[in-house]
Protein backbone atom coordinates (compact mmCIF):
# COMPACT_ATOMS: atom_id res chain seq x y z
CA UNK A 1 0.00 0.00 0.00
CA UNK A 2 1.92 3.08 -1.17
CA UNK A 3 2.49 5.64 1.54
CA UNK A 4 0.67 8.29 -0.52
CA UNK A 5 -2.83 6.88 -0.08
CA UNK A 6 -2.23 5.70 3.50
CA UNK A 7 -3.85 8.87 4.79
CA UNK A 8 -6.79 8.69 2.35
CA UNK A 9 -7.91 5.36 3.93
CA UNK A 10 -9.35 5.85 7.42
CA UNK A 11 -7.95 3.84 10.33
CA UNK A 12 -11.16 1.87 10.85
CA UNK A 13 -11.32 0.92 7.17
CA UNK A 14 -7.64 -0.11 7.17
CA UNK A 15 -8.25 -2.32 10.19
CA UNK A 16 -11.25 -3.97 8.55
CA UNK A 17 -9.55 -4.50 5.19
CA UNK A 18 -6.40 -5.88 6.79
CA UNK A 19 -8.67 -8.26 8.75
CA UNK A 20 -9.96 -9.58 5.41
CA UNK A 21 -6.43 -9.84 4.08
CA UNK A 22 -5.22 -11.68 7.15
CA UNK A 23 -7.99 -14.28 6.83
CA UNK A 24 -7.29 -14.55 3.08
CA UNK A 25 -3.58 -15.01 3.76
CA UNK A 26 -4.20 -17.70 6.36
CA UNK A 27 -6.47 -19.55 3.91
CA UNK A 28 -3.67 -19.28 1.36
CA UNK A 29 -1.23 -20.82 3.85
CA UNK A 30 -3.71 -23.64 4.48
CA UNK A 31 -3.97 -24.38 0.74
CA UNK A 32 -0.15 -24.33 0.57
CA UNK A 33 -0.08 -26.83 3.44
CA UNK A 34 -2.40 -29.05 1.39
CA UNK A 35 0.08 -29.01 -1.52
CA UNK A 36 2.87 -30.18 0.81
CA UNK A 37 0.44 -32.67 2.35
CA UNK A 38 -0.22 -34.14 -1.08
CA UNK A 39 3.47 -34.70 -1.80
CA UNK A 40 4.03 -36.06 1.72
CA UNK A 41 1.19 -38.56 1.11
CA UNK A 42 2.86 -39.58 -2.16
CA UNK A 43 6.20 -40.00 -0.34
CA UNK A 44 4.72 -42.14 2.41
CA UNK A 45 2.69 -44.20 -0.11
CA UNK A 46 5.73 -44.88 -2.26
CA UNK A 47 7.82 -45.62 0.82
CA UNK A 48 5.19 -48.11 1.98
CA UNK A 49 4.97 -49.71 -1.46
CA UNK A 50 8.75 -50.09 -1.77
CA UNK A 51 10.20 -53.42 -0.52
CA UNK A 52 13.37 -51.75 0.79
CA UNK A 53 13.84 -48.20 2.06
CA UNK A 54 16.01 -46.33 1.12
CA UNK A 55 16.11 -48.24 -2.19
CA UNK A 56 19.14 -50.33 -3.17
CA UNK A 57 22.30 -48.31 -3.77
CA UNK A 58 21.09 -45.20 -1.96
CA UNK A 59 22.14 -44.35 1.56
CA UNK A 60 20.13 -42.17 3.97
CA UNK A 61 20.71 -38.40 3.60
CA UNK A 62 23.39 -37.02 5.99
CA UNK A 63 21.69 -36.36 9.34
CA UNK A 64 23.91 -33.97 11.20
CA UNK A 65 24.38 -31.31 8.53
CA UNK A 66 20.59 -31.28 8.21
CA UNK A 67 20.34 -30.84 12.01
CA UNK A 68 22.53 -27.73 11.89
CA UNK A 69 20.64 -26.54 8.84
CA UNK A 70 17.35 -26.92 10.69
CA UNK A 71 18.60 -24.91 13.64
CA UNK A 72 19.62 -22.15 11.24
CA UNK A 73 16.04 -22.06 9.90
CA UNK A 74 14.40 -22.30 13.34
CA UNK A 75 16.73 -19.55 14.56
CA UNK A 76 15.58 -17.37 11.69
CA UNK A 77 12.00 -18.01 12.85
CA UNK A 78 12.87 -16.70 16.30
CA UNK A 79 14.70 -13.64 14.96
CA UNK A 80 11.74 -12.84 12.70
CA UNK A 81 9.45 -12.94 15.73
CA UNK A 82 11.63 -10.43 17.54
CA UNK A 83 11.69 -8.26 14.44
CA UNK A 84 7.89 -8.09 14.64
CA UNK A 85 8.07 -7.29 18.37
CA UNK A 86 10.30 -4.41 17.42
CA UNK A 87 7.81 -3.09 14.85
CA UNK A 88 4.90 -3.47 17.25
CA UNK A 89 6.66 -1.31 19.83
CA UNK A 90 7.88 1.14 17.19
CA UNK A 91 11.56 0.28 17.69
CA UNK A 92 12.54 0.53 13.98
CA UNK A 93 16.25 -0.23 14.49
CA UNK A 94 15.40 -3.49 16.30
CA UNK A 95 13.07 -4.42 13.43
CA UNK A 96 15.66 -3.67 10.75
CA UNK A 97 18.42 -5.51 12.59
CA UNK A 98 16.44 -8.66 13.28
CA UNK A 99 14.95 -8.77 9.78
CA UNK A 100 18.44 -8.57 8.30
CA UNK A 101 19.43 -11.43 10.62
CA UNK A 102 16.45 -13.46 9.39
CA UNK A 103 17.39 -12.84 5.76
CA UNK A 104 20.98 -13.90 6.42
CA UNK A 105 19.94 -17.04 8.30
CA UNK A 106 17.43 -17.91 5.56
CA UNK A 107 20.13 -17.61 2.92
CA UNK A 108 22.47 -19.72 5.06
CA UNK A 109 19.78 -22.42 5.14
CA UNK A 110 19.52 -22.28 1.35
CA UNK A 111 23.30 -22.52 1.16
CA UNK A 112 23.33 -25.57 3.41
CA UNK A 113 20.60 -27.17 1.29
CA UNK A 114 22.55 -26.44 -1.91
CA UNK A 115 25.68 -27.92 -0.33
CA UNK A 116 23.81 -31.08 0.57
CA UNK A 117 22.34 -31.39 -2.93
CA UNK A 118 25.71 -31.03 -4.59
CA UNK A 119 28.01 -32.96 -2.24
CA UNK A 120 26.19 -35.32 0.05
CA UNK A 121 23.78 -37.17 -2.29
CA UNK A 122 26.07 -38.84 -4.89
CA UNK A 123 23.76 -41.63 -6.05
CA UNK A 124 20.36 -39.99 -5.51
CA UNK A 125 19.08 -38.36 -8.68
CA UNK A 126 15.69 -36.81 -9.19
CA UNK A 127 14.76 -39.19 -12.03
CA UNK A 128 16.42 -42.20 -10.44
CA UNK A 129 14.35 -43.97 -7.82
CA UNK A 130 11.22 -43.04 -5.90
CA UNK A 131 13.43 -41.89 -2.99
CA UNK A 132 15.10 -39.35 -5.19
CA UNK A 133 11.75 -38.38 -6.69
CA UNK A 134 10.04 -37.63 -3.39
CA UNK A 135 13.15 -36.24 -1.64
CA UNK A 136 14.08 -33.73 -4.31
CA UNK A 137 10.47 -32.78 -5.07
CA UNK A 138 9.59 -32.06 -1.44
CA UNK A 139 12.83 -30.46 -0.24
CA UNK A 140 13.12 -28.64 -3.56
CA UNK A 141 9.60 -27.24 -3.25
CA UNK A 142 10.36 -26.23 0.34
CA UNK A 143 13.65 -24.64 -0.73
CA UNK A 144 11.74 -22.70 -3.39
CA UNK A 145 9.32 -21.50 -0.71
CA UNK A 146 12.28 -20.40 1.49
CA UNK A 147 13.72 -18.55 -1.50
CA UNK A 148 10.36 -16.78 -2.06
CA UNK A 149 10.28 -16.02 1.69
CA UNK A 150 13.72 -14.41 1.57
CA UNK A 151 12.69 -12.20 -1.37
CA UNK A 152 9.42 -11.36 0.46
CA UNK A 153 11.48 -10.27 3.49
CA UNK A 154 13.89 -8.20 1.41
CA UNK A 155 11.00 -6.38 -0.31
CA UNK A 156 9.28 -5.79 3.01
CA UNK A 157 12.51 -4.50 4.56
CA UNK A 158 13.05 -2.04 1.69
CA UNK A 159 9.45 -0.82 1.99
CA UNK A 160 9.91 -0.26 5.72
CA UNK A 161 13.03 1.78 5.01
CA UNK A 162 10.96 3.86 2.61
CA UNK A 163 8.41 4.37 5.37
CA UNK A 164 5.48 2.40 4.02
CA UNK A 165 4.85 0.58 7.28
CA UNK A 166 4.16 2.35 10.56
CA UNK A 167 3.43 1.02 14.00
CA UNK A 168 -0.34 0.93 13.40
CA UNK A 169 -0.34 -0.11 9.74
CA UNK A 170 1.97 -3.00 8.93
CA UNK A 171 -0.17 -5.81 7.52
CA UNK A 172 2.55 -6.55 4.93
CA UNK A 173 4.95 -7.38 7.76
CA UNK A 174 2.45 -9.61 9.52
CA UNK A 175 1.98 -11.53 6.28
CA UNK A 176 5.77 -11.87 5.79
CA UNK A 177 6.20 -13.15 9.33
CA UNK A 178 3.37 -15.66 9.05
CA UNK A 179 4.77 -16.89 5.73
CA UNK A 180 8.20 -17.31 7.30
CA UNK A 181 6.81 -19.20 10.30
CA UNK A 182 4.83 -21.38 7.88
CA UNK A 183 7.99 -22.23 5.97
CA UNK A 184 9.69 -23.11 9.29
CA UNK A 185 6.84 -25.37 10.32
CA UNK A 186 6.89 -27.23 7.00
CA UNK A 187 10.61 -27.87 7.53
CA UNK A 188 9.91 -29.33 10.97
CA UNK A 189 7.77 -31.96 9.22
CA UNK A 190 10.18 -32.54 6.33
CA UNK A 191 13.20 -32.81 8.63
CA UNK A 192 11.40 -35.50 10.61
CA UNK A 193 10.15 -37.36 7.50
CA UNK A 194 13.36 -37.50 5.52
CA UNK A 195 16.15 -37.49 8.07
CA UNK A 196 14.80 -39.05 11.26
CA UNK A 197 11.86 -41.37 10.29
Amino acid sequence: MAAANAHAVSDAEYAEVSGHRLLGFLFFLISDCVIFGNFIFSYLYLRNAAPLWPPVGIERPYLYLAAVNSIVLFGSGATMHYAMEGMRHDRRSQFIGYTLATIVLGSMFLGGQAYEYTHLLPHTTWAGTTFGASFYTLTGLHGFHVFIGVIFLIVVLLQTLRGTYTQERHFGLTAATLYWHFVDVIWVALFFLFYIY
Binding site: L22, G75, Y115, H119, V188, F191, Y195, I196
Partner: protein
Amino acid sequence: MLESIPTELRIIAFIGAVIVAVVALVALRGEWPKTRLEDHVTKIMMVLLTVGCIEVMLVAIGTIGRVK
Protein backbone atom coordinates in the same frame (compact mmCIF):
# COMPACT_ATOMS: atom_id res chain seq x y z
CA MET B 1 34.19 -31.97 3.94
CA LEU B 2 31.27 -31.11 6.24
CA GLU B 3 30.42 -34.78 6.61
CA SER B 4 33.83 -35.50 8.10
CA ILE B 5 33.20 -33.55 11.32
CA PRO B 6 30.02 -35.11 12.74
CA THR B 7 30.78 -34.54 16.44
CA GLU B 8 31.35 -30.79 16.02
CA LEU B 9 28.15 -30.54 13.97
CA ARG B 10 26.22 -32.33 16.70
CA ILE B 11 27.54 -29.95 19.36
CA ILE B 12 26.68 -26.88 17.29
CA ALA B 13 23.23 -28.31 16.58
CA PHE B 14 22.58 -29.09 20.25
CA ILE B 15 23.65 -25.66 21.54
CA GLY B 16 21.73 -23.91 18.76
CA ALA B 17 18.64 -26.00 19.50
CA VAL B 18 18.74 -25.11 23.19
CA ILE B 19 19.13 -21.39 22.46
CA VAL B 20 16.34 -21.28 19.87
CA ALA B 21 14.02 -23.36 22.08
CA VAL B 22 14.53 -20.98 25.03
CA VAL B 23 14.01 -17.93 22.81
CA ALA B 24 10.85 -19.45 21.31
CA LEU B 25 9.40 -20.29 24.74
CA VAL B 26 10.12 -16.78 26.02
CA ALA B 27 8.38 -15.39 22.93
CA LEU B 28 5.46 -17.76 23.48
CA ARG B 29 5.03 -16.56 27.08
CA GLY B 30 5.14 -13.01 25.83
CA GLU B 31 2.48 -13.71 23.21
CA TRP B 32 0.23 -15.73 25.51
CA PRO B 33 -2.24 -13.03 26.69
CA LYS B 34 -2.89 -11.65 23.21
CA THR B 35 -6.15 -12.83 21.63
CA ARG B 36 -6.17 -11.61 17.99
CA LEU B 37 -6.27 -14.21 15.21
CA GLU B 38 -2.71 -13.52 14.08
CA ASP B 39 -1.47 -13.90 17.65
CA HIS B 40 -3.12 -17.31 17.98
CA VAL B 41 -1.43 -18.39 14.74
CA THR B 42 1.91 -17.04 16.00
CA LYS B 43 1.51 -19.00 19.24
CA ILE B 44 0.90 -22.22 17.30
CA MET B 45 3.97 -21.50 15.17
CA MET B 46 6.09 -20.89 18.25
CA VAL B 47 4.97 -24.21 19.74
CA LEU B 48 5.84 -26.06 16.53
CA LEU B 49 9.17 -24.25 16.44
CA THR B 50 9.91 -25.58 19.91
CA VAL B 51 8.94 -29.08 18.76
CA GLY B 52 11.41 -28.68 15.89
CA CYS B 53 14.16 -27.64 18.31
CA ILE B 54 13.44 -30.62 20.58
CA GLU B 55 13.67 -32.84 17.49
CA VAL B 56 17.10 -31.43 16.68
CA MET B 57 18.22 -31.81 20.28
CA LEU B 58 17.28 -35.50 20.30
CA VAL B 59 19.06 -35.98 16.98
CA ALA B 60 22.16 -34.20 18.31
CA ILE B 61 22.18 -36.41 21.43
CA GLY B 62 21.68 -39.43 19.19
CA THR B 63 18.53 -40.91 20.68
CA ILE B 64 16.53 -40.72 17.38
CA GLY B 65 17.56 -40.73 13.73
CA ARG B 66 19.78 -43.39 12.13
CA VAL B 67 22.95 -42.39 10.38
CA LYS B 68 23.30 -45.60 8.35
